[in-house]
Symmetry: C2
């Protein structure tokens, strides 16, 4: 399947909604906000999406595709699973400008949909699962198949916690320190067995 991002009106709508949901929250973003952002008539907009929930569904699908591509890139770029997991850890540094303002896009959407008791919550949580499954595979490659899922969830939780506090305190030194500690942790849990599995 060829995904040409941002080339059709529908893609523009999904991109704008993705950004607005992230920056100002799903509940706070109106149908009109999105239509205004892409500068198309309400009628044209309506042709693609009948409700904000329809747009949310499309945003989640697009995010899943985007994250899958990201993980495939990390798989190609990192020869060693340690390097790949480092790519994950370092999103906190790379995206820190956005994270300090709006938190983690995955975590904050899941949290909001949980409170709204929204039917899309399961789909949004699937984004967590994509990262967990990928991290788990890396830990398995490092000889930790036995507790790969637990290690993956642990790292995901650490990363979520740092994003939450970074958004409250806007503290670059805190982010850098925590990233270093996660890298140290990564070496400590994989060092002893890394040679065996590779």
């Amino acid at each position: 399947m060829i995904v040409m991002k941002g080339t059709t009106t529908r893609d523009h709508i999904v991109e704008a909604a993705d950004r607005l949901f992230y920056q100002q929250g799903f509940e706070h973003t109106s149908f009109s906000d999105i239509a205004d952002a892409v500068q198309i008539s309400r009628g044209n907009f309506y042709y693609y999406f009948k409700s904000k929930d329809d747009i949310l569904e499309a945003v989640i699908v697009q995010r899943l595709l985007d994250r899958q591509s990201l993980l495939e890139r990390w798989d190609l770029d990192g020869d060693h699973p340690i390097d790949r997991i480092r790519s994950f850890i370092n999103i906190l540094i790379k995206n820190r400008a956005d994270i300090k303002r709006y938190g983690c896009p995955i975590g904050t959407l899941s949290a909001e949909l949980a409170k709204l008791n929204h039917t899309a919550e399961a789909g949004a949580n699937e984004l967590y699962t994509v990262f967990q499954t990928w991290l788990s595979r890396q830990f398995a490659l490092l000889g930790r198949a036995g507790d790969a899922d637990a290690l993956a969830l642990h790292l995901l939780a650490r990363s979520q916690g740092v994003a939450a506090l970074a958004s409250a305190f806007h503290d670059d030194a805190f982010i850098a320190r925590e990233v270093r500690q996660m890298e140290d942790w990564l070496l400590s849990v994989t060092n002893s067995r890394a040679q065996v599995a590779l």
Copy 2:
């Protein structure tokens, strides 16, 4: 100051708003939702609060008072700083039913207000600071004055991350495992010097 919780109409309004903001989000909760929850007339309600923002301010003040009392109780109940920090870590177990449904009340409110660019964001983040300051004092008592703030923020982040994933995955075993690991971490960072300071 004697705080008699829940004894006046105003207190009832603040309690109901606190619960609704936590369970369904600030943005999603209307003025009417709160009035309906306390079952008083709009006119009577209006006598106490003119806007949802006024109620939010009162909710944050009440949460600050509640958490201060909680920390004073932990100070009294725990003879040793290690025990007090354990009280903090174990909120994840104690409040896990709510956390699995709605996440952490502090973290999710801060995250929502950050996206809304709401003037109350700083007040909401003050709730984090209350815990950070208290945790930092405990680490200082354990002989880690030099990096007490960093240790406090680290533990706060770990706890936030667990709450975020607990709300997505509803996984009791995950919470229990992470709590054990936080307790192990606590002993590992304080063991060597705990005897010196106490």
